[in-house]
Point group: C2
Chain length 725, copies 2
């Protein structure tokens, strides 16, 4: 097993693929700290018993001979066979020694439930470091600390301290959650309540040994797992995440991630909770999006997304939705929600309308969403007829049935039971449509019988119209990613020859050095000549042709115009000479200590759309490319789009089209269409530059990058490059 | 009772305040169409019996002598006393005659459950018109048709066909819903599940007689009702809505509205469902917002908002929130949700941190959100100590306790019960803080005992972190509206003297006519002289000073520049003469039939920020003022804000600040700050103009309205005014 220090220098992590079988498929389990009181460790013993784990269970506690009817051992060395996995719930300060002992006794995996590690000040951080050393040096697979543990649902190996209501249901959804509480909350809504089965439920806490990415990697290759959900406070291995996401896409296994930490307060809370720095939210979000990872922002959305992804594994059709309901009010509600989620609800064809009119009451107006009216509850033939008609109708791919699976009502009616049975019967001969049910609101008690009928028919039951529509959009977006991925060809960008004049430099590059770096990667840069004195400036201007711009040339000046370091529109030799002298004086007055190498001279640029192209760096995830339109768009509106390298030409085009003002580039208000292809090319090349120099680059801004009319390319007018000190 | 035709000419509605007592407090109820089969009418009889309505119930059906143990009457004339209210569930075609008979028999209110009215083609519309005539001519109070009916929870008068699970709970929340299904869905989540009591539950369907606004009006004056929720597909009486909202604000009774119909599809669905045109969503939204009506966009948000509004009636404090939880994962989750909702979670003070550290485990980091850690579940003293400390801490107004009210777990633990009891005990001596509980996700079974403890302590239980935070924001916004309202003084705008030269005109006004209208209302307009021929144009230019702009003067030209009708920058007499002749030729070539009155001459405007100010008309809600920045902002970004008259100067300032590009007016990028006060004044005056001419105005655009530097005012440069034909 190889190990490496992560790029950020934060935490040593395991690299290479790990075999998590000792943790996730343990042949025996020891529980350290189990007692005759119902504490966290005892609860694990109880869970193993209650769920029916078949392997031997060894409570370990020198104080007792027996725990929950099982023989209790004084220490790990005394168990009749070395436990495959050990669960540890003892005070944090004793854990490093206990794990040392465990490794010594032949234990291969440890679930550390206790808190008091990276989240707990200097002493805690030292304890976490000890666990990390153990993982590294002894190859111990550590889940946690500060977690609920790992639960293989098929094997019933509940090395897991959470309270999971029964029935457990084996299936193909795996969930990884740093938060223990959220792991059971999500699983409970799916397994016992919705009939969506699980392969694994893993609460991984502080990720001292194994990280979210390690579990993902294992699960992507796991035959029992088809859909992977993750609640993440902080990623730790972005490179592994990239590899795992690519492999997951190749296997068509969706990764659904809820990442908290968009707000500064949340990032601080996460640091305080798990000791992990959460990173730059925009860069993480862009990374996940580009990797085809489905992002959700609410716990309920996680639940519904996993339910749909699991049910729609084999669906291979389109995205035109027809909605049916028994509530007139839901028609407007569903139409609004679909519109909001970008879901198309095409109109019914004339022949479908005619067919429906035959069965619906006179007063009904068949349309999409289709209101079955109160008649749906009175006439048992109506709903099956509607479903049959819509399943046969042209022009649709998905049938979304609004159905509130309430338990039987006070008068004994449970219309949803009849509807679910009818739906199941209509689908008995199969359909290439995707059929799903959704309730108008989330929550409220659910009728088990209805849900069971639907689950058996392979029909997911999603809660909340808005969430259901959002979930369909997420599935569509995911499938689009898989398709694009199949056709993607990212052109090989020019490689740095590593011999730029700026090599070995630190801090801000001079204008000419930075120009060399941009040019080396094929980014068009305005012609720029260096001038050490006024006469050289005049000579340069004569070569370039008037009018020219003069800019101060100094590695110590980051924002030239703030210190008088820019002179525009010098129209003749005299004004160049005057501008040069005045500019150097003014800059010197502002920054007496700055090294000034003279000025650079450029021809005045004319025309084109001003854009801004830059590189932003996340300490863990590395560089991201930021694009925006110049002028008010970035400064006033904050209107930017962001991608991480590598960026293909198609990605770049999409990135450009994402900013709100991109219509300007297409040529509104009498402007000629701009050279968007050349702009996309510059984005691709800047991404290549950022990748090649990801370890040394600290900041890069091209502002403005002029986008000239179609066919005329782009040209960088001003730029700033900073390298790490 | 007075009646009037609504401004839109759509539907005759009742005006003036109505006494809904016969409908909402009936002393006796007849049920037309009740039978020995469990149909909709029979279900009403069953509901009246089950919930314990104390007045006489008269089933009416010539086919039976007895229904559900009650004597059944052949017709309404045969009941021992005239029923106060009659519930009707017979085929739609028989209903007009039946209601005629009912009115004859002395019945004062009717609940029409049946469908087949405005939503059902020409025959249905005729039936609905018949109901409207009955309401008007006989003063019959009609609820419905196409509804579940009306339910007075205290009186248990369930003239209501929906299935409402028990227990009913009397309280101060009233709900009006056009949709029957949503009425029970919302009420069920509040009454039996959350212990939030109701005064009335009204499903009003097509609103043939009584409209949403009529019910609101009654409920605002009802002593039993403090909070009013409404699910609305289409409003019918905007003027009454305005009055009711003002009275509700005066009485501090929040109106919470979920209005569907943002999408075109939803508007069509609504038309199809209730026969009501839904109106322009942006104008309705602006109206509701200005009226202080709390708008929600999901059913779950309606539930939570009603729960909080009901519990926080007497809360009078600030909005700084401290969150406490027993889940580390929730800290980041809650912080993100608070950030998203604009809720402030200030840091804990040093002394609060010290106090908390005394009780929390060593590894805990007290901050806001506060993680009680696993210790909260082990040490029964910890949670009460945390609550006490935070209730005493300076710097907070609201304590939001994250608490998942799960029913007892498999091992019998129900930690939420202990937490709710502790919370209740801490609050026993009262607190001026607002204390609420919230779950991390929505849905899942709830523990009745926990919810009862919280309800008794006056602590609302809200579901879903995001929704809970959003709900706090809604409450804050509502309270802000009440405060502002108390201080608002809307300046009296100048009144039209009604003698403008454009009086009596139809269609587009000429440039000079329109200029007169704007000037009459005090909107600064650029100096503009009419010129019938080239020599008059030159004379005008000499008077104004060169350079000047020439614009075609024709009531038949709406978009001057599209037909060559604008010439800018004419610098001398000759260019004015040439421009005049060429312009008239070109316009004539484009529009040979247009009447051309010559040209208008204006000085060329210079400087200032270009804005667009216009009036948009909704057929029912009337005019709205639309504001945006010129150039790309409206055209490319669609960046506008909207308000309905009357608009105060403060409203106008807020409206201006709402557009994304408003920073431009404050003077970014080297521009001087613009005269925003003068701009606000122009908005106020345009609103006055739009109000004064709401019946005749069809469209008005000022584009551009130049906003000059501070102190220099604004000036309209070009405009277009169309009156109704």
């Amino acid at each position: 097993m190889a190990h490496a220090r992560s790029r950020s220098g934060a935490t040593p992590v395991l690299v290479g693929q790990l075999d998590l079988a000792p943790l996730l498929k343990p042949s025996s389990v020891a529980v350290l700290g189990a007692s005759q009181r119902m504490n966290r460790a005892t609860r694990v013993v109880a869970n193993l018993q209650r769920f029916g784990y078949a392997g031997p269970i060894f409570p370990v506690n020198p104080k007792y001979d027996e725990v929950l009817g099982l023989k209790c051992y004084p220490d790990l060395a005394s168990t009749p066979q070395p436990a495959d996995s050990v669960v540890v719930a003892i005070p944090a300060e004793h854990i490093p020694a206990a794990l040392e002992e465990a490794a010594e006794a032949g234990v291969r995996a440890a679930v550390v439930l206790s808190s008091g590690f990276a989240e707990a000040g200097p002493a805690g951080r030292e304890r976490q470091a000890a666990l990390e050393r153990l993982a590294k040096e002894r190859g111990l697979l550590i889940c946690g600390p500060n977690c609920y543990g790992a639960f293989n649902i098929r094997l019933r190996s509940a090395t897991f301290s959470g309270d999971m209501p029964e029935p457990l249901l084996a299936g193909d959804v795996a969930l990884i959650s740093q938060s223990g509480g959220f792991s059971t909350m999500i699983a409970e809504r799916l397994m016992p309540q919705r009939g969506v089965g699980f392969s694994y439920l893993i609460s991984c806490g502080n990720q001292a040994g194994l990280t979210v990415e390690d579990y993902m990697e294992y699960l992507v290759d796991d035959q029992d797992t088809q859909v992977i959900g993750a609640f993440v406070e902080g990623f730790k291995q972005p490179d592994k995440l990239r590899e795992v996401a690519a492999r997951a896409a190749a296997k068509r296994k969706p990764l659904v991630v809820m990442k908290v930490g968009r707000s500064e307060n949340a990032r601080q809370a996460t640091l305080s909770h798990t000791g992990v720095l959460a990173g730059t939210p925009q860069i993480i979000e862009a990374t996940l999006k580009q990797l085809g990872i489905v992002q959700v922002s609410r716990l309920n959305e996680m639940v519904e997304t996993l339910a749909l992804m699991s049910a729609a594994k084999d669906y291979d059709g389109g995205w035109r939705v027809v909605v049916t309901t028994g509530s007139g009010g839901e028609c407007g509600h569903a139409a609004d929600a679909a519109d909001q989620a970008g879901i198309e609800l095409p109109p019914l064809s004339t022949s479908t309308i005619q067919k429906l009119k035959r069965a619906l009451p006179d007063f009904a107006n068949p349309r999409n969403p289709l209101d079955g009216t109160g008649a749906m509850y009175e006439n048992a033939e109506l709903f099956p007829y509607m479903v049959r008609t819509l399943l046969e109708a042209d022009g649709f791919d998905i049938l979304a049935v609004n159905l509130n699976a309430d338990p039987p009502r006070p008068n004994g009616r449970a219309p949803a039971r009849g509807f679910s049975r009818a739906l199941s019967a209509e689908l008995a001969n199969g359909s290439d449509r995707l059929v799903l049910c959704f309730s108008s609101a989330i929550g409220g008690a659910l009728d088990g019988e209805t849900l069971e009928t639907l689950a058996e028919a392979g029909v997911p039951y999603l809660q909340g119209t808005e969430t259901a529509m959002q979930t369909i959009t997420s599935l569509r977006r995911y499938r689009l990613h898989l398709q694009r991925r199949a056709h993607a060809s990212i052109g090989t960008p020019p490689r740095s020859d590593g011999r730029g004049s700026w090599q070995g430099r630190r801090g801000a590059l001079s204008t000419m050095e930075a120009r060399g770096l941009l040019a080396e990667f094929g980014i068009p840069v305005v012609e720029t000549l260096a001038a050490a004195d006024a006469e050289q400036a005049v000579a340069a201007a004569e070569r370039l042709g008037y009018p020219v711009a003069l800019k101060i040339d100094s590695p110590d000046v980051a924002h030239k115009s703030d210190v008088g370091g820019v002179r525009l529109g010098c129209a003749d030799a005299r004004s160049v000479r005057d501008a040069f002298e005045q500019m150097l004086d003014e800059v010197h007055r502002h920054l007496p200590a700055a090294r000034i190498d003279g000025a650079v001279v450029q021809p005045m640029a004319a025309g084109g759309v001003e854009t801004i192209l830059g590189v932003q760096i996340d300490p863990l995830f590395g560089p991201a490319i930021v694009f925006g339109l110049g002028g008010i768009f970035v400064e006033v509106l904050g209107d930017v789009s962001i991608r991480v390298p590598p960026i293909s030409a198609d990605d770049a085009l999409e990135m450009i089209s994402e900013v709100r003002g991109s219509a300007l580039l297409r040529g509104v208000r009498g402007h000629a269409p701009a050279d968007v292809r050349a702009l996309a090319n510059a984005v691709v090349r800047l991404a290549a530059l950022a990748s090649a120099h990801r370890d040394s680059l600290r900041a890069l801004d091209i502002n403005p990058l002029l986008v000239l009319p179609q066919g005329s390319g782009v040209v960088a007018i001003d730029w700033l490059v900073e390298l790490a000190e």
